[in-house]
């Protein structure tokens, strides 16, 4: 729904009041307009060719004679409207070119609110400008991230072990941390199952998640099953990665890091 702006509404109200005041003193208001309309009508009359005037006069006569005929009404109506408040004999006779009150050639009949003729589907949303509201947050977030990385990098060095030697297998040999869950699965399953089938199914299930979850709600209380499944999925990998990272020692055997130390490099 569109509201009429305050200043326009006020202006319309004032105009309405003025018009009401004019109507109350009905004798006064048309008076100043009358000579204007009269003279204007006179001028217009003089400019219109005689044969056209004759035709108009005939049509008017015919209309009044023919009663409530459609054509008659339409021709008569503009003439009456043009004459407006100054319903003098001259104006009535004149063709519909005379100005209305105050010299206006058009006037506002009504204001149609947009809601009454349009079905507005979009409801207004509470929005903010991206600059400065969002950009400022993003800037601070990236600065904090950069500061953390910089400080961390000053104090903690990336590992660089001795030159690669294909003939010397370290014990234990571990994959990068994000693949340690898979390596952990290797201890339980056939390599094809652990290395290809399970991660393949996991990835496929992730991709299909929006197409299998037909529940349209995004409220947590409506999606207990989806949330449970996903949490189990996350925890499954997190636990496997943690075990593979911290609880696996020489020979990829289970150890406690507080007893045997860490066998983990980032």
């Amino acid at each position: 729904m569109t509201e009429i702006p305050e200043h326009l509404r006020k202006r319309a109200e004032e105009a309405r009041k003025k018009a009401a005041g004019a109507a109350a003193s009905s004798g006064d208001a048309p008076a100043p307009a009358a000579p204007e309309g009269g003279s204007g009508g006179g001028e217009a009359e003089s400019k219109i060719p005689a044969h056209l005037l004759e035709r108009a006069r005939k049509a008017r006569e015919k209309a009044s004679g023919g009663g409530d005929e459609g054509g008659g009404v339409t021709t008569a109506a503009p003439a009456a409207a043009a004459a407006g408040g100054t319903a003098t004999a001259v104006a009535t006779a004149a063709p519909p070119v005379a100005a209305g009150p105050g010299g206006h050639t058009q006037r506002l009949l009504t204001v149609v609110k947009s809601g009454s003729i349009q079905d507005v589907k979009a409801t207004p949303q509470d929005k903010v400008h991206v600059w400065p509201h969002l950009l400022a947050i993003e800037f601070v977030a990236s600065l904090l991230c950069l500061a953390f990385l910089l400080v961390f990098s000053i104090f903690v060095n990336a590992p660089l072990q001795v030159l690669a030697n294909p003939n010397l297998t370290p014990n234990p040999s571990k994959a990068p941390w994000y693949f340690l869950g898979l390596q952990e699965l290797l201890t339980m399953f056939h390599p094809m199952v652990a290395g290809v089938t399970i991660p393949g199914i996991g990835l496929f299930a992730l991709i299909l998640a929006p197409y299998t979850d037909r529940n349209p709600s995004n409220k947590p209380e409506d999606r207990k099953f989806a949330i449970s499944i996903f949490t189990v999925f996350l925890m499954f990998w997190a636990v496997l990665v943690i075990i593979g990272s911290f609880f696996r020692g020489p020979g990829f055997n289970f150890v406690f890091p507080w007893q045997s130390g860490l066998f983990f490099d980032l």
Binding site: I137, L149, S153, L168, P170, S173, Y178, M192
Partner: protein, 260 residues
């Protein structure tokens, strides 16, 4: 002329203000900074200028001019998607620096890294940043996925953007994994050996997959070159394309998802 006369009476502060005024009013300045730039003459905080800041900047117009109010709540997004992108940019910048000092050959790779750490200004720091940012990016992409799932933000109309997101996660892992080999130390060699051995168990054409990935039957100098090209050129190229689609779809699908 009259202005210059007045300027004579004023102190250096006024002279500076006058100079700033003249520079900002010049044609060159106006041609560099588009309307709405905060460096432009007469920038005021108005809704029009706030819109111009976004519309007239090649970087910022990733964003719409306005977003829903809840979308700027840090507690909703935790900035995870944006930080992943920021880390990607940081990795690109530090990675280019590292490329100046690195040759992907088995005979020189380790020495190049060692030399970078010991005799290049900021070499160690930049390498550290590259390494930690890479781990952090894997983590932030992963957490971003979790956040999106828990908000149900993959639901229509955002299904396909979720699929692109899963592809991006995979590409992030591959980028990290290909970079893992490049220092050519014991850690790199054997981590990659363990990782690629698993791929060798792909059914039917497992050995072919492994051969194509390693550029041979065993990890060697060919593998190093192959993974280097994947790491610095091909995978970044692919991931940028997917990221572009990802960001574009965020806007086309109606901005970030609504509150719970």
């Amino acid at each position: 002329m009259a202005k210059a006369m007045e300027g004579k009476g004023g102190g250096p502060a006024q002279k500076l203000a006058e100079l700033t005024d003249r520079v900002q009013g010049s044609q060159a300045w106006g041609s560099i900074f588009r309307p709405g730039s905060i460096f432009r003459k007469g920038y005021t905080d108005s809704p029009r200028n706030r819109s111009y800041v976004i519309m007239n900047s090649v970087l910022y117009h990733l964003h719409p001019v306005k977003v829903k109010r809840h979308a700027v709540k840090v507690s909703y997004t935790l900035c995870l998607g944006g930080l992943s992108f920021f880390l990607f940019i940081l990795l690109t910048v530090t990675g280019i620096f590292l490329m100046f000092f690195y040759r992907p050959e088995a005979t020189s790779a380790w020495n190049d890294i060692y030399r970078l750490q010991t005799s290049v200004a900021f070499g160690l720091l930049v390498r550290n940043m590259h390494r930690w940012a890479a781990h952090l990016m894997v983590l932030s992409v992963f957490l971003h996925m979790a956040r999106v799932f828990y908000h149900g933000a993959y639901k229509p109309p955002r299904e396909f953007n979720w699929v692109i997101g899963v592809i991006l996660l995979t590409l992030t892992l591959l980028l990290s994994f290909t970079g893992y080999l490049l220092p050519w130390d014991q850690l790199a060699l054997w981590a990659v050996t363990v990782g690629t051995n698993m791929m060798g168990y792909t059914p039917v054409f497992g050995n072919q997959v492994r051969f194509a990935l390693l550029g041979g039957a065993e990890i060697g100098t060919d593998t190093l070159l192959r993974w280097y090209v994947l790491h610095v050129l091909m995978l970044p190229f692919v991931i940028v394309i997917f990221m572009a689609v990802h960001f574009w779809r965020v806007r086309k699908d109606g901005g970030i998802s609504g509150p719970l």
